[in-house]
């Protein structure tokens, strides 16, 4: 148990900060408790502060720091003894958008030297910071793979087209590569195409020639939420 804890520090969702201490005092204490040898403590604290952008906050009480900075202190505490693995639980909860962006950059930065395990419910965050994804539903692993696999699942072979004077569906089906087309309730048209085909250019040309009034064309991405739902839902069906 103790050896495991030596290599894997953990930052839980509720930041375990002693708010009556200053940043320096807190980090020194964390270094001591994680058995950093006495002569290296000062260096470890400076290093952790520098990496987390806390150097100018050294003498401030943790209590008086903003949420984003408190989160940085939490991360600094977790990497202070240069562990192999850092575990972060919901690292961006309760932060404002700028702080979220900063923390994500910091996580990527930390990830260059340490393995970082993040547990989160915010799916776009997964896409932004992770290389490897595991989805767990009711204690069972339903997805395990690199983020690219998950992204590919998202894209699909679909285009979303917006036309001001749309033609009949058959007209669109006649364009080469298009295998399926349907109009959606919001006036857009969803086009499916074969795996190898790239019908986007042909569609644009047809639209210009025949004056369909094209105002938007974009790949129709399933959101990560949908993929997640699918994965967990399939699991339910299988049971």
């Amino acid at each position: 148990m103790v050896t495991y804890r030596k290599c894997a520090p953990y930052l839980p969702e509720m930041r375990p900060l002693y708010k009556e201490l200053t940043v320096d005092e807190y980090l020194t204490m964390a270094a001591r408790l994680h058995r950093v040898s006495a002569k290296n403590i000062k260096k470890a604290v400076e290093n952790a502060k520098e990496r987390c952008g806390l150097t100018h906050m050294s003498k401030r009480l943790i209590e008086n720091l903003s949420n984003g900075y408190q989160q940085r202190v939490g991360i600094a505490q977790a990497i202070i003894h240069s562990p192999m693995v850092v575990i972060l639980d919901e690292p961006t909860v309760g932060l404002d958008p700028i702080q979220i962006r900063d923390i994500r950059t910091l996580i990527r930065e930390v990830g260059t030297d340490h393995s970082v395990i993040i547990s989160t419910h915010i799916l776009p965050e997964v896409e932004m910071v992770c290389d490897q994804v595991q989805i767990i539903d009711k204690g069972k692993l339903v997805f395990n793979g690199s983020i690219d696999v998950l992204k590919r699942q998202r894209v699909g072979n679909k285009l979303l087209i917006g036309l001001r004077n749309p033609p009949a569906i058959e007209e669109i089906l006649r364009i080469s590569g298009v295998s399926e087309a349907e109009s959606l309730a919001n006036g857009l048209i969803r086009v499916r195409y074969a795996e190898s085909a790239e019908p986007a250019e042909a569609i644009v040309q047809a639209a210009v020639q025949q004056g369909w009034g094209l105002h938007q064309i974009a790949p129709d991405q399933t959101s990560l939420e949908d993929v997640f739902m699918q994965l967990t839902y399939q699991e339910q069906l299988a049971v």
Binding site: Y10, P12, M14
Partner: protein, 248 residues
């Protein structure tokens, strides 16, 4: 490692004004009692004509100051021990300690050592204050030693009990009240069962075991009693935290 946890506790106590305020207020109370006792000594002794009525200045002043000290610790220790674990539980900082490479025993003993170290500052100050009597009288340092040791052991027992109650709840105030009631009950046992020396309940009383120290007697049975008392409650605390950890 125990030392590092103890240092963390001491740092927390002295990071807020509370540690300083408690130290200064208690020292003020003990100092006042000391001055009064020295004044009273002359008044009482000049009234005592026969040699049998006379007591030494160490015993007279010492008993008065240490008597007050043991009584005040009954209130001071619960107030200091209450936040040791319950506060960490409430502000959810326990995972910080749990995830560090230290065992539960080290955490609990570290907290205990931190608190006792803080309180022993008071004990050292009291002993130093009483030693100043030596400037104009020839005092009995053995008596001071026995009393200091007794007070230290008693405070250690109080602290262990306080830490245990602190580990039971999230509310520091509840921990303080429970600790105070328990300590008070253990003190009072002597009142009810003190007359009968064979009574088991009577020998559980904290007061009875402190009394021999108070009269300058270092009895190994009393030392063992206080050590067992502290060890028992520290063990219970470790078990309690272990149950917490397993349940998450």
């Amino acid at each position: 490692m125990i030392i590092n946890v103890a240092r963390k506790e001491l740092k927390s106590v002295f990071a807020s004004p509370m540690g300083w305020v408690i130290l200064s207020l208690l020292m003020f109370a003990f100092g006042t009692q000391y001055l009064n006792a020295v004044n009273d000594y002359f008044a009482v002794m000049s009234g005592a004509m026969r040699p049998a009525e006379r007591t030494g200045v160490t015993q007279f002043v010492g008993q008065s100051v240490y008597g007050l000290a043991s009584f005040i610790m009954l209130f001071a220790v619960p107030l200091l021990s209450m936040r040791l674990i319950s506060e960490e539980r409430r502000s959810q900082t326990l995972p910080f300690l749990f995830s560090a490479p230290i065992s539960l025993t080290e955490i609990v003993v570290g907290k205990f050592v931190g608190l006792v170290a803080f309180l022993s500052v008071l004990i050292v100050f009291i002993a130093a204050m009483l030693s100043t009597l030596n400037i104009w009288a020839d005092i009995d340092f053995g008596f001071l030693l026995a009393n200091s040791l007794g007070l230290l052991l008693m405070v250690a027992g109080f602290s262990a009990l306080g830490i245990y109650f602190s580990s039971l709840t999230q509310q520091p105030v509840i921990a303080a009240i429970l600790t105070f009631i328990a300590l008070f009950a253990l003190m009072m046992l002597d009142r009810f069962f003190g007359d009968d020396p064979t009574n088991v309940l009577g020998s559980l009383s904290l007061t009875r075991h402190f009394q021999s120290f108070a009269s300058g007697l270092i009895d190994s049975a009393d030392i063992v009693y206080f050590i067992l008392f502290a060890v028992t409650f520290l063990t219970l605390t470790v078990r309690r935290l272990d149950a917490d950890r397993l349940r998450g």
